[in-house]
Amino acid sequence: MSSSQESEQAAPRAGLAAMSETMPATALAEPAPRLTTEAGHSSLGGHFDSNSGRLRELWEFRELLYFLAWRDVKVRYKQTALGVVWAIIQPLFTMLIFTFLFGRLASLPSDDVPRPVFYFSGLLPWLYISATVTSGAMSLLSNSNLLTKIYFPRVILPAAAAVSGLIDFVIGSVVLAALVLWYHLPVDGTILLWPVLVVLMTMLSLGVSMFLAALNVKYRDVKYAVPFGIQLWLFITPVIYPTSMVPAKLQWLLALNPAGGIIEAFRHAIAPTHPMPWSLLGISSAVTVAVFVLAYRYFTNTERGFADIM
């Protein structure tokens, strides 16, 4: 990706020409131009280069994040007859089909969990991840009118996609809770892990979408690769099948796919028929954090040039 490394000097002026810049990602190697402000308190004039500064700036712009997420939610079900019911229909019908296809016809095991609960609890986080990554990867491009007209921390766009998806997730969770009650599942303390898992799931989705969104600005290939990639991702993720189907020695491989450990943990948190797979969750969490940090760094290193190559 570092193809835009250039140091040829096209500029005639001594001194200025020494600061060669191309596309922004690589401009950092050069003495970076600085935009400074003395009004650190302001939400608009402030410029923050340090990481803590960026976080403070994000905090300043939290309302914009809220409004963008709110816009996404509002717009998603505008002018639909069923409205927010779609948030239930999608996982519910997919669950029914999975139950019939993979449960009845293919007789895949379900770790002694009632099949509807098994599939639904896997589908819920999976649908969140796939929807967020799909819309997050497009978030910069589809908001290019904003990127070229106003300033705000660019990461807000994929973040808004991640936040707005949580609404559907919460609605789906209510349905899941109803299923759990219906089947009289013996819920134990691991249910408390649920919020932590939601955070991990959000981080993972946001991490992947930050990376893809930034890449998408430069390489439109991403647009075609994402739907395809997500399909493949589903097959290596224990949504349709339980991790226990995989030989124990190889299960850690499955957990390297961070969605794997997280989804497996989601399932165990509500249907504790087996012990919680802590090691898998540990591996997946570590990978999630790594993905998030690396993606965030890639994003912040390239974001300066978004408006130029949009």
Binding site: P33, L35, A39, F67, L146, Y219
Partner: protein, 424 residues
């Protein structure tokens, strides 16, 4: 030592773009991979660089209203985009003190499906307003926009004018220390533009620093005390708005072919007298590159006499672009009785006091005949007259070609029954 606080300090700012590959095209990963496979050790060609800004330095004291002028592609917009942090400079320093609001567009981020009310909140938060601020100003914003009854209608049902109104209404309630405005006044209908101008004028009051980019010279003249003229990415001139604009209009006029030149297509006459060239001059006799509404104009028509002629009669017609005759005058109207012209050169000065023309392209047609009209010595020699906009009503609202061809200097006053009763 310096008592003036600068809101903006720009120091040796440069910005360059690479032309070609990366711009506006869908860059395929494959191309890049192929390229690096073919030539693993060669770096990509330096390509061609476009210096959008080169070595730009100036500072703006707090409270000053500065107009940025320049032709298309001069770098004005790049400068504004850097100041509003949408894009980053290649080199150089910028210091900005205070809260910046950049209006590069009216109604940024409006979403078709959302209602006016929802879009006010969305747009406001994009421009940096807090939700509480929007709550406080909401009624005033709706009032300003005049969209009261449509505020809960999705804006996809709005006309473009209504959207603009709503967008500007939000912008007018921003309270930044530094306001950056790009061409927003170039749109909207007359009544609304007037509202915008007065909103802008109110901004001038406080300690607010305003940077205003526009092609509308009259608006710049009306609003700004200082102007910076950017040309090919560099500051060409920086000073009092009036002076900079004068210089700018002078140069611009010359380049764009506004300057007079005679065209001889369709020329008539026997050639005893021939027009050679025409000059548009200020009353003092210096050439004016651009002729603006309401200005005085001295038309100096040069001619060459080939053969002695008795009692020639000069005149001109002025046509609109569409070919409508606006006026025709000849020497007799001005008691210009020429007994005789002898072979050689000469010129005729026609001093027009008040060009009450609306900005458009007009054309002169000059002629010279004998006293009786025949024979024609020279006829229908044309010269283009481009009239540029000026703030002729002193309101910042410039008449445009859709307002007709003429304007009249005028003053308005409204009297109602109420006033009558009060004065009694």
């Amino acid at each position: 030592m310096n008592a003036v606080v600068n809101s903006i300090e720009i120091d040796c700012l440069c910005k360059r773009f690479q032309l070609g590959a990366l711009q506006g095209r869908n860059l395929q990963l494959r191309e890049q991979l192929l390229q690096s496979l073919r030539n693993p050790f060669r770096r990509r060609r330096a390509g061609e660089w476009l210096w959008a800004l080169r070595d730009v330095s100036f500072s703006v004291p707090r409270g000053e209203v500065v107009g940025i002028i320049g032709r298309n592609g001069a770098g004005k917009s790049t400068l504004l985009k850097i100041l509003s942090r949408i894009t980053y400079p290649t080199s150089g320093n910028i210091r900005v003190r205070g809260r910046v609001a950049a209006l590069l567009e009216v109604g940024t981020g409006f979403h078709e499906e959302l209602t006016g009310r929802e879009n006010v909140y969305l747009n406001g938060s994009m421009l940096g307003m807090k939700r509480r601020e929007i709550d406080t100003h909401f009624d005033a914003i709706v009032d300003f926009s005049g969209m009261g009854q449509f505020i809960d209608t999705p804006i996809k049902r709005y006309s473009s004018g209504m959207r603009l109104r709503l967008g500007f209404a939000v912008a007018a309630h921003l309270d930044p220390d530094i306001l950056i405005v790009d061409e927003v006044l170039a749109v909207g209908d007359a009544a609304f533009q007037r509202k915008c101008i007065s909103a802008m004028e109110n901004l001038r009051g406080g300690n607010r620093t305003v940077l205003f980019v526009s092609h509308n010279m009259a608006a710049v003249e009306n609003l700004c005390s200082r102007a910076v003229w950017i040309e090919t990415g560099q500051v060409r001139m920086d000073g009092p708005a009036r002076d900079v604009m004068k210089a700018y209009l002078g140069t611009y006029g010359g380049e764009s072919g506004t300057g007079p030149g005679l065209t001889f297509e369709g020329r008539q006459g026997n050639g005893d007298i021939q027009f050679t060239r025409v000059e548009y001059l200020s009353p003092e006799g210096s050439p004016c590159g651009v002729v603006r509404s309401g200005e005085e104009l001295l038309v100096r028509l040069h001619f060459h006499v080939n053969r002695e002629v008795l009692y020639p009669s000069f005149g001109f017609r002025l046509f609109t672009r569409m070919g409508t005759l606006l006026t025709e005058t000849n020497g007799k109207h001005h008691r210009l009785l020429v007994q005789k012209v002898e072979p050689g050169d000469g010129y005729l000065d026609m001093h027009i006091r008040n060009l009450n023309l609306i900005p458009e392209r007009y054309s002169f047609s000059f002629w010279v005949t004998s006293e009786t009209g025949t024979p024609v010595y020279d006829g229908d020699v044309r010269s283009i007259l481009d009239i540029e906009a000026a703030d002729v009503y002193g309101s910042g609202r410039v008449p445009e070609s859709r307002h007709g061809v003429l304007y009249f200097p005028q003053k308005w006053r409204l009297v109602t029954d109420l006033d009558e009763r009060q004065s009694r």
